[in-house]
Amino acid sequence: MSNDEKEAPGKPDSLPQLVLGFAFGLVFGFLLQKGGVAKYEVLLGQFLLTDFTVIKVMLSAIVVGMVGIFSMHALGLVRLHVKQTRYAANITGGLLFGVGLGLLGYCPGTGAAALGQGNYDAIAGIAGLMAGSYVYAETSDYLSATIQRVGDRGRIMLPDLLGMRVTVFLVILVPLLIASLFVLQRLMP
């Protein structure tokens, strides 16, 4: 990426960033609650395939964020933070996460929002999240030498897999995602 020289906006533990983090959190939590995704019944409804609120929220966020962030990146206003691809760890971790998510009924973000709206069972979920994180840290040395090495491909993007330019890929993908939202609204209003 050519424009990654953009100046970093202060350390994450500087006072302005602490305040910004809290402010962004306020907005995020407010939106999650208004979107209904802090509710156990709405989340389980998604997993039982009777309520598609979660997918509607996520796809809408992905479409708007995708267009916005790649546009800002093209203008040199932001840096990208593409995630590491490690096939074995991604798949194993993703499936484990899903099982935990089905049991708890809240994800890490919506769990915090659930607590905010008074779902006290989220307290046990948050305690579990902290415990599980620490157990992971205990095993992080071993995992980084084993499973995280399997299928380690670095920070690859979907267009890289197809040998396409990012812009071309977006011109195809964004309308497809919008179309899928319309189909979803038709099938699952």
Partner: protein
């Protein structure tokens, strides 16, 4: 089903979360992501028991257990949801969700036990996969990370399977 749904349109809420992502990239050079903050908080608790042991763990050498942007984001989410629920008259104040009660009864201990177990498994999975529903599912997916789309599919596969086993057997 008789359970309450969302106050606002999911498309509007999603679009605004997309705009919020743009703001965090621009003002903080950070994608939205929550799960690492629980790990940092856990590390801070670990420091109370044995600082030297916690600091010896590889994960905490990369992600320091301290209050930073992401932890403040997490605190903000709790308060923001409280403001939304309080002003929207949607506070629940319940230890056991209604849908769970209809299936498994009102036993608080059982619900909290399963919630704790679920949270622990989920956190372990998030760390192994490299993020959660916000970090991978929204921020990573919108940046076209290959890993995020794979992880997102696995999130759904695991949660659908688990929910079906819990509620449809």
């Amino acid at each position: 089903m008789g359970y309450e749904g969302a106050a606002w349109s999911p498309y509007l809420v999603g679009a605004l979360i997309g705009v919020l992502s743009m703001a965090t990239f621009y003002f903080s050079d950070k994608p939205l992501g929550i799960s690492t903050s629980y790990a940092r908080l856990a590390g801070m608790v670990g420091n109370l028991f044995s600082k030297s042991h916690t600091e010896s763990l590889k994960f905490y050498q990369d992600s320091k257990p301290k209050i930073e942007w992401g932890v403040m984001l997490l605190f903000g989410v709790i308060i923001g949801a409280f403001i939304a629920a309080y002003t929207g008259d949607e506070m629940t104040g319940a230890w056991v969700p209604l849908l769970w009660q209809d299936r498994f009864g009102t036993d608080v201990t059982m619900r909290l036990g399963v919630a704790f177990l679920g949270g622990a498994i989920m956190a372990y999975g998030a760390r192994l996969a490299g993020g959660c529903t916000s970090g991978h599912g929204i921020s990573g997916a919108l940046q076209l990370s290959v890993s995020s789309w794979i992880v997102l599919a696995c999130f759904f596969a695991g949660s659908v399977l688990t929910a079906m086993l819990l509620y449809r057997l």
